[in-house]
Each structure stands twice: as C-alpha cells, then as structure tokens.
Symmetry: D3
Amino acid sequence: MPITIGNVLDEADFASVAELLPQLMWADGTKTAGAVAREVKKNRQADLSTRSGTRLRELVQTALRTHPVVQAFARPAKWSPLIVSQTGEGGGYGTHIDNAFMGTGDSRVRTDLSFTLFLSEPDSYEGGELNIDMAGMTHSVKGARGDLVIYPSTTLHQVAEVMRGRRIVCVGWIQSLIRSGDQREILFDLDNLKAELLASHDKNSPELLTLSKTLANLTRMWGE
Amino acid sequence: MPITIGNVLDEADFASVAELLPQLMWADGTKTAGAVAREVKKNRQADLSTRSGTRLRELVQTALRTHPVVQAFARPAKWSPLIVSQTGEGGGYGTHIDNAFMGTGDSRVRTDLSFTLFLSEPDSYEGGELNIDMAGMTHSVKGARGDLVIYPSTTLHQVAEVMRGRRIVCVGWIQSLIRSGDQREILFDLDNLKAELLASHDKNSPELLTLSKTLANLTRMWGE
Amino acid sequence: MPITIGNVLDEADFASVAELLPQLMWADGTKTAGAVAREVKKNRQADLSTRSGTRLRELVQTALRTHPVVQAFARPAKWSPLIVSQTGEGGGYGTHIDNAFMGTGDSRVRTDLSFTLFLSEPDSYEGGELNIDMAGMTHSVKGARGDLVIYPSTTLHQVAEVMRGRRIVCVGWIQSLIRSGDQREILFDLDNLKAELLASHDKNSPELLTLSKTLANLTRMWGE
Amino acid sequence: MPITIGNVLDEADFASVAELLPQLMWADGTKTAGAVAREVKKNRQADLSTRSGTRLRELVQTALRTHPVVQAFARPAKWSPLIVSQTGEGGGYGTHIDNAFMGTGDSRVRTDLSFTLFLSEPDSYEGGELNIDMAGMTHSVKGARGDLVIYPSTTLHQVAEVMRGRRIVCVGWIQSLIRSGDQREILFDLDNLKAELLASHDKNSPELLTLSKTLANLTRMWGE
Amino acid sequence: MPITIGNVLDEADFASVAELLPQLMWADGTKTAGAVAREVKKNRQADLSTRSGTRLRELVQTALRTHPVVQAFARPAKWSPLIVSQTGEGGGYGTHIDNAFMGTGDSRVRTDLSFTLFLSEPDSYEGGELNIDMAGMTHSVKGARGDLVIYPSTTLHQVAEVMRGRRIVCVGWIQSLIRSGDQREILFDLDNLKAELLASHDKNSPELLTLSKTLANLTRMWGE
Amino acid sequence: MPITIGNVLDEADFASVAELLPQLMWADGTKTAGAVAREVKKNRQADLSTRSGTRLRELVQTALRTHPVVQAFARPAKWSPLIVSQTGEGGGYGTHIDNAFMGTGDSRVRTDLSFTLFLSEPDSYEGGELNIDMAGMTHSVKGARGDLVIYPSTTLHQVAEVMRGRRIVCVGWIQSLIRSGDQREILFDLDNLKAELLASHDKNSPELLTLSKTLANLTRMWGE
C-alpha cells in the first residue's frame, strides 16, 4: 500500500531547493529506464554530480534518511541513487514496471519500494499524476510540495501526461531490510504500539521487554 | 525448551484416577515404538478401549485440551492417541528420537511436541527421570503428581531405569498449528502481553486492536 | 487489495432473494464474533438451517463458487459457513480484526479473504459503509445490489453505523489454496495473460505450453 | 530426476494381470485430461469399478504402496486414483503439463510426482515412448514389463505415437509428504546412508541415533 | 539439470587461446580442492596471474558473462575465480561434491552451479568424461571445443581417468541470484516466453506488461 | 540452547591477558547499549584501539575464530567488534534483549548468537552471573576463567549485580551463515557424525560421500 508523508522538506529546505534548481544541468531521462520502460519515458533529469546537484542530492538524502516514519515504514537497507526529474508539457511516463534490481556489485539495490518526493506545487502544472495500479484500481497521487509518496515497486504505475506547466520531483528506490510488505506492516504496527505504550510504561517493564524482544526477534527472523 | 505446568489434574481428578488405575488392563509397550525405539523400550501400557480406560482417557484429554497454558504454549492442531504407561523395577526407555509422523490418513499427527503427565508421586519410585538432551546438556525432570512436561519432539530423550517402585505416567504428542518453536514463542509472548494489557486497556482501544491484529496476522502467516 | 465484482447475483437470483428474505428467522449477531469483536458487533443474523435459509444459502453459494473471477482471484480451498446479516438503525460493527482460524477439525478455515455480498440497494439505507483500513488509508465500500467485495482478512475493518433503513448483506471467509496475497496476484496475472493469449495462440503452442507449465508449477510450489 | 525401478510386479502378479486384462471394459481417455491436455490425448482407459478392474487396481496398488524404494524415493502422502491405459496404433498423448491438483476435498492430490508402470513388453509395440522434457533435453523411457518410472510432474512430457501394436500401462500421481524434490533427495540419501550403516553399527549406537534424529527432524521441518 | 551451450568461444577466441596456452605456467591442482576432494584430484592448473594467464582469463570471463543464455539460465550474482585445468594420461578427478561456499568475505561464493568450458577437441584425448550423478543415473559429457556445460553443484560428479592425450578445460562456479533450481527454471521459461511474444506484441502491450511485471516480481520475491 | 566450551584461552593466553589487562583504558559501558538496554547497563569497557587493547583483541579473536567447536556450532559469517567489560561492586546489566542488527553498511551484523568469554576466576567476585531466560526457566552461568558461553541472542538475559570483587569478560555477537538455530543443530549433528565415521571409513567411501554431499547441500540450501 502507498503512504503519503507530508512536509518531508521544510521551508528552509525549500529555500535552498529554490536556489539550487535553476543551477542544475538537465539531460534526457531515457538513459535510466529499463528496456521496457525506455520508450514510454519522456522527461529530463538533472546531473547530480555538479556542485549544485551534489548540494541538492545531499539535502534530500538527509531529509529522507533521517525521517522517523520513513525508517519505520520502509526499514531501508540500501538506497538507489536519487533522480531529480522534470516533466514539461507533453511529457510523462507510460505504464511500466520497475526493474527488480538496479546497479551492480555492492551498489546493487533490490527495488522493494519506489518513492516520489514532490518539489513543485500541484497547481503549478496540469496532469502529471502518479497513477499506481492496485489490483485493477488506480491509486492516483498529486502531492503537495514536500510530500513523499512511498509505494510498492511491485505495481504497474505511470506518470500521466503533463498538460501545462512543469512537474519537478525527486524519485528513487529502497531495498528494505524486510523483503515482504506483509512482514513490514507487522513490524510497523508493533513499532507504533511500542511508542504508544512508552507513554504509560517504563521501558524496562515486563510489557515493554516482551514487546522489544518480539520486535528484535521478528527482525532477526526476517531481516536480510 | 521444555516447560512444566503444575496441577494439570486436580484433587477430584486424582480421586477418579486412583479408582480407575487398578481396573486397567496392561500390555507390553514395544508395540507403539518406532523401529529404532523398540528394543530400548521396557514398560507396560494400558488398554484404553476398556470402559475404565475410556473414562481415564477422557478425564485426561479434557484436562489437557482445556488448559489455557497448554493452548497458549502448544497451539495444538492435532493430538496423538494418549498412552498410559507404567514402568516397574528394571524398566525404562533408552535414548531415542520420536518418529516425525504417527498414524495414517486423517489421524496422522506430526510430532512437534511430546508431553508427559505424571500420575505417580515422585517419592513412590526411584529413578525413572525423563532425561531430555538439549544441545549436549541433559534436562532432567521427575515431576510431581499432576505435573505436565511439554518438550520438543526434536530432542533425543530417555526414561532412566526405574530402580524401585512403579512409575505411572500418561504420554502423548501434539501437532501444533505452528510448526516452528521460534514462532510459537513469539505468539506465546504476544498472548501474554495481550493478557497483561487487558488489565489496563479496553479491548477495543487502539493498542489492543493493534496487538490483536498482529496476533491474528502472524497466526495466518504461520498457521498450518 | 480489495476487489469489487459486479452482478454476482443476477435478476433471477434477486427474484428468489426477494421471496426468501421475508421468510427468514433472525437472531442476535454477537454469537459469531470473536472475543474482541463481540462487544462492537450490533446486527442480526438469519438462521440458515430453515427451509428458506437453506434455499438462500445454496443460491448464494452456487453463485460465488462458480464465478470465474472469484476462482481466479481467490483460489478458494475452503469456505466458511455463510452469514446473512441485517443491520438496522443504530447498528453497525466497530473496528475489529477477523480471527485467523474459524471452526474446528476438518471444517477449520484459515481466513485469508473476507467477503461481503450486498443484498440491499445502497440508496435504501444511510451509513453502513464497509470501511477497510489499508495502511492508514480508509477504503470505503457501499456496493450496489449484487456486488461482491473481497478483501484481505488481515485488515482492520468496520461497518459504519446505519443511520436510516436496513442494510442486508451476506458475508463469509475464504481459505485460499495460496496463502500469500503477493503470490495470488502473480497467479491471477498469469491466468489473465493466458486468457488473452488463447485468443491468438493454439493451446498446444509452445507459448501456451510454457505458460501452462509455469502456472501449474507455481501452484505446485505455493498451493497448500 | 526420473528413476526407473524394475520388477515392481513379479511373475505371479503378471499371471493375474494376463487373466484380468481381457476382462476389462474400456472408454475414451479424454475424460481425465485437463483442459490443455484434452485434445492431445488419444488413448483408451479401463473401468476400474468392475470386478476385474477392482482386482487389477488392488493388485497394482499393493505392489506400489509396499515397495521400499517407492517409499524412500517418493514419500507418498496421497495417491491419485490409478488409470489403466491402452494406446493403439495412431494413439499417443501430445506434449502437456499435468494439472497441479487433481480431485476435490479430502481426495484432492497435489501432483508432485507422476508414474508409469509398464504392463506390456516393449517389443510388443513400436513407438509409445514416454518422453520427458528436462531443461531442453529429452529423457525417453520405454520400460520393460514390470518397470515403474517415477518422474517430476513439473516437467512437460508426452507419449510418442504408437506405430504398431498396443501399449498398456498403469499411470497415476503422488502427493509427497515432502513437496520439494531437492529435499526429497536429501532424505533419500540419508535413508540410504542409514541402511548402509546398519550393517556395521547397532541401531542404538551414537552414530545411528544421530542419523535417526536428523532424519526425523528434517521430516518434521519439511513434511506437510 | 545440466545444459550444454555450444560455441561459447568463437574461432577468433580460439586463435587467441592457441597462442596463450603454451605460455601458461602450471602447478599441481590439489591446492584448490576441499578436504574430501583433495586426494581424488589429479590434474595441473594454470597460474592465471601471469600476463598470458590474465589475458586468457579475461577472454573467457568476457565470453561467459556476456552470453545471453548463460545469463538467462544461471542468473549469476557472483562468479568464483576461473581455473584452467589440464589433465594428462592417468589423471582425472574422482567422485566428489563441491564445497557449498568458496572464498571468504566479499568474495565468498555460494556454489549453486558448476561449469566446464571445453578447450580441447574431444578426439584429442581418450577418457576424461565429466560424469554427473543424477539420482542414480550418470549423465556423461565430453563436449566439443567451445562447449560450455553448466550443472547443479549439488550433484556428485567426477572426471573419468584420461587414458590418452591431454584434456584442457576451464572450470568455475556461479552463485545465482536465484538459489533454487526450480525457481530458476520458472524464470528461464518466462524469459523465453517473453522473447517469443516480443515477435508479435508491442513491449508496452498489456500482455507484455503483465509478463514483465510477473518476471520482475518473481525476481524480487526470490532474488538474493 | 546455550553451550559452554572450556579452555578457549590456554595458560599462555592468560599470561598475556594478565599482562595486558592492567594497561587498558576504560570508559562507561552505556555507549554500546541499545535504547532499551542503556539505562540498565552498569559496567566499564576497555578501549581496544590502544596498543594493549589491540593486542588483547587480536589474541581473543584468534582464539575464538580458530576454535573448531565454535566453527561447528556457530558457523560464523560475521563477528561484531569485541567488547572487554569489567563490572565492579554494584554493577551489572539488567534484563534486556540485544538489538537484532548492530553496525551499518558492510559491517552490519545480525546478532544470531551472543557470547561471553570469562576472563576472571569465578571465585574472584560474588554475583555477576549471566542469567539467560529460556521459556520461563533461568539458565544461570558463571564460567571458569577461559570458558566461553554461546547462547541465542533471541533470549532475554541479564548480568546479576556484582556483590563483591570485579568481573572481567569479553563479549560479542556472531551472525551465523545459518540463521535458524534448528538448522544449525542439524548441521552440527551431521558434522559430528562425519567426524565419527571418518574413524572407520575412508573419506571417499560411499558413506562419507553421501554425508559430505548432504552437508554441502543443506549448507547451500540454508546458508546466507
């Protein structure tokens, strides 16, 4: 299931983003698409190896990697390189499935979860919805600036054609410590339960010890 | 790990047991041993198809199957037929492993857990300990009358030679809904946590709903 | 993910339903709720052992069990007994999780999937939505007469309070041959692919043989 | 991997078979084929509910179910009904995959292993080989009278066209206690090792106890 | 199951091989054998750290790692170091099993698949067959120059004694992204199906999207 | 199950230890505790980056990593950094569970097994027992100097308050190649069986080849 986490970037972050975006260098986005995806991908992507690109990448990485809900929901083991993408009028990304693995060697990432961090205000462009196919139903997202959507990479999805304006997002993939979404949900629920119980119980109480033990042992059993 | 649960039979039960035991018919115990176990098994077993045998069997079955700790620890899906065994001087049961499956067709039972319910007082016989081999250490049990020991059928175990008196026990096997002992322990811990939290939380509180959901979903994931 | 399948009952079925419903006997619904669910369940349930109840049950069972989309999506191995439920003003069913197993012995059913078949028109009552909690989002369903909703039993869900009128539904649970929803989705997709390819390929063509082999072997690997 | 076990029926069995075969009633074989297989299946099958059919079925079942190599290799949990099939000139069975499950309810069988027991001498017919596709190589079998071939039901296979004479075989399917062929091979090897060691070691020696424990515990871990 | 892939090296490759082989330095082969294998291994192995050895190694590695059938069949995640082995008269390699893991730390390789690339023409030596034990049957291979045999490392195998001439091969091991051979076969079949369908369908057609999704999601589920 | 292995350090080792211990630098031990454990941990830990610390660390690492019983029982894939801990009067470590993972990136270790190597004689301090909770029973260890206790990290455990003297131990964690304790036990038993059989059988005998094959293939199946 997708979740949306609001305000992953704050106002100070967006001040930096506003300064950095105009300085970026952009290239055609098909180079990072798998064989199937290539011909349906119409966007431009920023070169993140420039000085401005590096600063933007680090700003976003820090925001994502330190966010407690991202940690608890996704349990990241590895992150793909980030992509900053802009899609202008007539651009979009047809229905596709993400490759199961990206990169090679130590930097190979199994794509358990995909994410989109919205850098443009939704009223600054028409179209451009992220449409995720969930067992025949379409889950459509057009997030506010600073919203992060995390969704299973196992879904067919697309970016609808942009009809007006320019959509700028940051996208990437997460290999989770916990491969199965069903298992991640159980750990997420138990983490939330633990946070709730800490309000009324000492962390060395039998209740919290039992819960900590269960969380640790499920993580041992499932973690990769 | 073995656990011992005390007083699984109460005084009223033992009054009935005392009345029924002398009425039982006994036969040589080797008929229920697997190929390896046969030659090391020296005991006598009661015919539980007689009228008295049936009453004894039903009394014990009811006590075992309705005991809340047995339920929470073992999560029984199927029970083997019960055996009432007496071991006299010079008898015992050499080191052996229980067969993985007993019975055939619908009554086939995978032996996840073995149990011994002690029907004699421990000072009424010498020797006769149940010795369970746990990774090189011996866990030795000689329970009080009414004690139930449940232990993993995966262990080598023996009944030490009886040196004096007569040891009477009831033994059997449980196929658990949850095959793995590590998983059973997690469910047992969460069940205990739930019981503790019910003292302070409403069962429809978010905390209890989360815990009930987790217990149900782990049982769905693991239950066979 | 929930799916909704329309027109599972047809007009002829509804003529029979209209005739049978007034003849049913009704009792309080708390008797079929688990411990947690009991106090949040406010509805009435039909006695399906009467002559009219039996006819209604058979009509619905036949419609469900022979429906090709139900087969392909759910791959039923076992069905729980059906429940016909009516909820009047002020009734509903608070947030709860379904028990992981229902029934005992051979009729024990692992509840992989829950379903609701709507027997009333949605404009004949106010409220009464089926609200399914999906990772923090609420998926709300108020189906047309004859709609069947199938959803994972792993979710917290509720029936919203009925504010006016009377909501009549038929509910039940399915143990799937395939325990994991992720695996069921793969088989569902391959089944659909096979149906599509049969339009252009002979069923003994290499393409269809490969696909049939894969479907059979994944079912062998995962089926329980 | 397929194995061939010789002389599963002995001379006395074949005397009975010779007497019973002429008394059987035969019908078209397409009725037991799955949807894909139907149009490629050209044979005739005996009615095993007649008096002669019943005797033949029981004779073959007994031979199969009591054979020690069949037990050790296949570890049967359930058997499909037997089929006695005759294929005349021009008959055969095109390339197909066996259904993953056969039958319904308690008699449902997962087809882990397929078998063919040859009832005709190989020189009494031309063609009629059982051809099993193993990762692109064809494993071709035309067994002697009394040979039993057991092979994974996961393979595409066919019966080559019979060019002359009449091929009579008995076929069926086995659901193994152990779903995975890799796991069955490990148990088969350890069973053989145990038989070898019993020639030189006492069955209660530490070596044999360790081996018996391992065999029992792997069976507990994997058995279904 | 073993497969043989022909012409993995082409004529230009063999011209280089013919030039490089005489320049290699050779040492006794027992140093790379596990404890059990050591005393049955009688061959000589080339030093691949010399200039000529390095060129030969790179030539072979490139040919193996870029071959599409090797990719689709084996799905390599890691490769062991290559070994170039020559076996003269009286040499060979007795029946043995390959170690489950080779190397340490990051270069540790789980040996899922073993391979032999034949560098000599088969008529240039007598004996020297690679004999693979498959459930009691022997699969014997003596490949043409340039043939690559890939087979499961789970099998007992041997190199028969060389009776005349000199057998030169290149051998190594592959850790697959997909541990189980049954799962690799399913992905291999679906990959082949996809290649076939691409001849008649657009890669963004619903059929191909479904197939690409299934391939990606099975790889996510199984890939390590 | 915990095991205790005696004399992991020998007299020569202890001469070095006696020389090195007085030269170590010590700091408060809470810095290496997880969030739950922090407030119950009262000890001091040595700085192992000093010259003396490095020598001590290497001495202990070598002893642990080359010990054949440690190898066979734990099958280490990764080791956490070592900790040398001293606990004085009033110190101890309350009941806690070890984190499931320690470290980050390539040095991240899943804590399958915890160990304590005793560096002080048990009569040199009062209290300070390592108490391991095993399904409700407490397994209490106060080892001799040079004893190593290895126990599952899945258990709640504590170090009892030291009442007199000073307890010095070396502790750490092991990520096993084999995640499940049940599986490790099977491999440990088969390893021991192999060692026993090597006394009477040639290592290339059919018996030993079968056993080596089974050990290798179970390790392939389970190793991570």
